[in-house]
Amino acid sequence: MKTFLLRRLLALLPLLLAVTFITQTLLVLAPGDYFSKLAENPSITAARLEMLRAQYHIDSENVFVRYGYWLKGAVQGDFGYSFKFQAPVWSLIADRIVNTLILAIGALIISWGLAIPLGVISAVKKDTVFDRLAGGLSFVGLSIPSVFFSLLMVFFAQKSGLFPVGGIHNQVYWQYFTPWQKVVDTLWHLVLPATVLGTIGMAQYMRQMRGEMIETLSQDYIRTARAKGLSERKVLFGHALGNAINPLITLFGFSFAYLLSGAFITEYVFSWPGMGRLTVEALLDKDEPLVMASIVMLTAMLVVGSLLADLLLAYLDPRIRLE
């Protein structure tokens, strides 16, 4: 167990090195940098620009020099300052990561809370109207582009006035709220983006759940359970569900990782101040230190997400041993 954990975390190191090096190469290849925009300002001289570039070590066109500077800082825990926000990148990321976690957990609750019961019912009532309807709906959920779905939700929020249009909390009254009001306000802002992200995942997990459940229900031990006269409820929840759900746990880890890194379109449309939006905006602005740190964070989250899935699976399924 310990060696397993250690090995997986050690494997993260070369991955992070490769990812950051690729990112650095692409950033160096990209024409222009953050300070190119300042060049349009007549009060800033070319000499001043050169000074700024030298100060932030982005004056060299040599990838290895640039990466060397970054790596030297990163190893010492110094990931630099964001050009745009003029703040240490980790303080920016730390703020955003909490927001992204809130969104991801909200979406997970919606998607898995719906997917498992719907998948089980569809499997039990296979080929009925309910199953067909759920199957059709899952295709809709699977196919609806998140940009489009998010925009529809924003439209709904604006027209109905039931939900806020974007952001994570009320800008005006936030500071006067009691802690309890703050929680309610955040949840209220969370409903729509979490629904968008949750629905898209839900469709996929529901189909998977249905498939696994149908497979499990055709097994011999289910027939045995029925033959010895167990109630259908006990057969389903005592015998079938526990076995059918195992393959989904791997998916659970991936879905968590995907939500942490893949939610940026939804974050973008809903102005949700999460990691995804921070990274995309940093990329569009060529805010190099912030891009590098975000990529490190996102990659690490992806790996940790799948690691958590493995651990959970090993915990729930006694047949699996982590060596």
């Binding site: 990209a30 439209f155 790996v303």
Partner: protein, 371 residues
């Protein structure tokens, strides 16, 4: 209900069917998949004939009259006296220029003309013509799905945009499938160091947060590119991300295929290794490849949409379904002139059709569903 065949009938005709015929027969029984196939054929035909079907060119604008409401439901077929007449629309009057409100001017009617003259275009990229399937006479303009912030016809732009948004999927999948098959085939058959190296590359690409990689890649090429360059770049970037998962599965299949007798026979005949991979092994993975390819077309369509929506994809005035949705980013446009999200329905329809068709294809290719 089908009639049971006579026991004395000749041997079942199935024996003489090629695998492709079996697949097609099974697919035809799947109504949802066939419907999706018809939708796809229709969409792609529309894309091919976009310039003829669209009443206007995608750049044609009327800046004095932006945000006109959709006219699809305001095409009249009865004249003032109530008798049937050829379909027509009323002229438009500006009711409130600052709020972009318009009203019908019932004093003038403009019949919809079939094969009328309009903007010049090259039919099928070959035949220069100015005929369009339907037009109305100037000064009236026909905005079936409304007009955007520059007074351009959204319907025409959706048709032109379908060329970009739909072809990205086909070309992208062709490139990534080719790479995926070659890499997977070589890695699986050659084994050893080549296999090890290629698979590490695959794992690296799969471990990266792909949408960010796409964005970084896109940024590294700068923005002073022509529209055709940007289009090709998007396709190449998406294929660059897309081939990895394909290669991994193909490698797995090749590992088992290379023990087959016909491969050993080909080796004994002294064919080169590359020839064996391309000619003898890869064709046997084809049904799997086609199914996964179909199911991954949506990734390319949505990838283009995401990039164009973020403003680093297809640039104005060129139309794509993704960059048309950018107008809806402005919440007041979205709520006042809701028709700007019409392209979203087309993205949804195309992605859904590919998903349903791919799912049907997978069932049809699965020997376990033999009937």
């Amino acid at each position: 209900m089908s009639i049971e065949p006579e026991p004395s009938a000749a041997p079942a005709p199935r024996a003489s069917r090629t695998p492709w015929q079996t697949l097609w027969l099974k697919l035809r029984k799947n109504r949802a998949a066939m419907l999706a196939l018809y939708v796809l054929v229709a969409l792609y035909m529309v894309a091919v004939f976009a310039d003829f079907l669209a009443p206007y060119h995608y750049e044609t604008l009327d800046q004095d009259r932006p945000f006109q409401a959709p006219m699809l439901l305001r095409i009249h077929i009865r004249d003032a006296s109530g008798s049937l007449t050829r379909p027509f629309i009323y002229g438009t009057r500006v009711a409130n220029p600052s709020l972009k409100l318009y009203e019908d001017d019932t004093s003038e009617t403009f019949p919809i003309r079939l094969f009328g003259r309009g903007d010049r275009h090259d039919l099928l990229w070959l035949v220069p013509t100015d005929r369009h399937l339907f037009t109305v006479d100037a000064p009236a303009r026909l905005y079936l799905f409304g007009s955007d912030q520059f007074g351009r016809d959204i319907f025409s732009r959706i048709l032109y945009g379908s060329r970009v948004s739909l072809s990205v999927g086909l070309i992208g999948i062709a490139i990534s499938t080719l790479i995926g098959m070659l890499v997977g085939g070589v890695a699986g058959y050659y084994g050893g160091a080549i296999d090890f190296l290629l698979m590490r590359v695959v794992e690296l690409i799969l471990a990266l947060p792909s949408l960010y990689l796409i964005l970084v890649l896109r940024q590294s090429f700068g923005s002073d590119l022509t529209s055709i360059q940007i289009y090709l770049l998007i396709v190449l970037i998406l294929s660059f991300i897309g081939w990895a998962s394909e290669a991994r599965v193909i490698r797995g299949m090749v590992l088992s295929l290379k023990e087959q007798e016909y491969v050993v026979a080909a080796e004994a005949l002294g064919f080169s290794r590359m020839w064996i991979v391309v000619k003898h092994i890869l064709p046997n993975t084809l049904s799997f490849v086609i199914v996964t390819a179909t199911l991954s077309v949506p990734f390319y369509i949505l990838g283009e949409v995401a990039l164009s929506y973020l403003g680093v994809g297809i640039q104005e005035p060129e139309a794509s379904w993704g960059n048309m949705l950018r107008a809806a980013q402005n919440v007041s446009y979205l709520t006042e002139y809701t028709w700007v999200i019409t392209p979203g329905f087309f993205i949804f329809a195309a992605v859904m059709a590919w998903n349903v068709f791919g799912d049907g294809l997978r069932d049809a290719a699965d020997p376990r569903t033999e009937r």
